[in-house]
């Protein structure tokens, strides 16, 4: 077997850059930027098209995500499939969840926003989303009890519930796995879970007001930083960029919960929510995101990441 560039990179012989902890750090930053830029893209689409046209366009945008996923699912190149799955997940979440809920909440059903001290705190689309928590956990039950799951958290839960023996051996090898679909579903469920967590913490029906609400928010920041920090400490040991990218999705999203709460406390301004006002800053963010993404995409790969088994 000949030694490929990818193999050289994988063993560190071809690159001094793409070694731990660089891969983990860069993929985490990429994912944090992706969340912020995803918010900015949503706002920009709304501002450019107007709300009513956005609702119509969201149907097509979602189908675009499905078409991308179709390309990704056909590919046997893990690196490509992971990126496509992630992009499709983001696009479909934005189009078919956020914009559809926005249509139903703001326009069709006619819900009012939740207010606090004369300010809008929760828009109707998120009120609907909060009601999907039961659906989310029902569907997550499938992954918790699925013997083929490779998600570290679900495997950990399976071990704690003494399920591994009862579930039996896995039926799929790494080669059998469809990475586009896996990354797509991971992006989708992680985003959904984080929204649900956030919405519960911001719901006065559960956490009340004042000190109780602050306590719940502070506890959430603690959990977010501890859990996200733990994931990050594992991620910085990764060498395979495709695996790192998939693991960076939950890592960045868990850490992002603290960003949302910091924004609620007025500690920072979420510039990604105001693309018109912060066009220059967001332009730099986009450029940095694009450069880092290309670097990670082109970084030396293990043969298995580029379809050479």
């Amino acid at each position: 077997m000949t030694t490929t560039t990818a193999e050289k990179g994988a063993t560190g012989g071809g690159s001094r850059l793409w070694r731990p902890p660089i891969v983990g750090i860069i993929t985490t930053i990429i994912m944090l930027f992706a969340i912020g830029l995803g918010h900015a893209a949503m706002r920009a689409i709304e501002e450019i098209l107007g709300r009513d046209n956005t609702y119509i366009a969201s149907i097509g945008l979602g189908f675009l995500g499905i078409v991308a996923l179709w390309y990704g699912v056909k590919s046997r190149i893990e690196n490509f499939a992971t990126w496509v799955g992630f992009g499709a997940g983001l696009l479909i979440w934005m189009a078919w969840i956020e914009f559809f809920y926005m249509y139903y909440g703001r326009k069709n059903f006619g819900l009012m926003p939740r207010m606090e001290n004369g300010e809008v705190t929760t828009e109707p689309e998120y009120l609907i989303m909060a009601a999907t928590i039961g659906v989310l956990f029902t569907m997550l039950a499938y992954y918790i009890f699925d013997k083929d799951t490779r998600c570290n958290m679900f495997v950990w839960i399976q071990e704690k519930l003494a399920l591994r023996e009862g579930l039996g051996p896995r039926t799929k090898t790494a080669r059998d796995r469809n990475y586009a679909l896996i990354t797509f579903m991971e992006t989708f469920y992680v985003t959904w879970f984080m929204y649900a967590w956030n919405l519960l913490v911001f719901d006065p029906a559960f956490v009340g007001f004042g000190d109780w609400a602050f306590g719940a928010e502070a506890a959430t920041v603690f959990v977010s930083i501890t859990w996200g920090g733990f994931c990050f400490s594992r991620l910085i040991k990764y060498r395979r960029t495709s695996s790192a990218l998939r693991y960076a999705i939950p890592t960045a999203n868990i850490l992002w919960i603290s960003v949302e709460i910091a924004s609620r406390w007025g500690v920072l301004t979420e510039i990604w929510l105001y693309p018109r006002e912060y066009m220059l800053e967001l332009g730099w963010f986009l450029l940095a995101f694009a450069v880092m993404s290309v670097m990670i995409y082109r970084a030396p790969k293990k043969p298995s990441e580029i379809g050479e088994w």
């Binding site: 703001r106 819900l111 009012m112 207010m115 828009e123 006065p204 029906a205």
Partner: protein
């Protein structure tokens, strides 16, 4: 034994302010405080507790975040206002309008309030409802 009905009985005395009277006073005082307390929504609810008390500026802020819901809420408030003034439901008021004018439907009624508030952030929802009423009131009352 002197009975109360006896003409020689002592005149009845005023009852002393005992525990029942104190409790009554306390309840009245609590009742007054309850009436004076600011109206609040149950935690988790949406919208505002007193739509008539908000400024157009607040309405303008809420409207993009829930246009249909805010329009329905403000129209419902205005319908109560019209009924109090005329004793008529909105459909009855619209039916009494002279023929030939533009049709008043949900969108036109609510757009009137939305546009009024957009132009006058310092005004209130009652101001906006009164302005709409000026368009709808029967000719005899003009």
């Amino acid at each position: 034994m002197v009975t109360p009905s006896s003409p020689h009985a002592a005149p009845p005395t005023m009852p002393r302010p005992g525990l029942p009277a104190l409790m009554m006073a306390l309840m009245l005082s609590l009742g007054t405080e309850t009436l004076a307390a600011e109206l609040k929504l149950r935690p988790g609810m949406t919208g505002v507790p007193d739509l008539g008390a908000i400024s157009c500026e607040t309405f303008n802020q809420m409207h993009p975040a829930g246009p249909t819901g805010m329009e329905q809420a403000v129209l419902t408030w205005a319908q109560g206002y019209f009924y109090a003034l005329s004793g008529k439901t909105t459909n009855e008021i619209l039916a009494a309008l002279p023929d030939g004018g533009a049709e008043w439907n949900f969108d036109r009624l609510t757009d009137h309030i939305v546009e009024y508030c957009a132009a006058r952030p310092e005004a209130t929802i009652p101001d906006a409802a009164a302005d709409l009423w000026a368009q709808l009131r029967p000719p005899a009352n003009n």
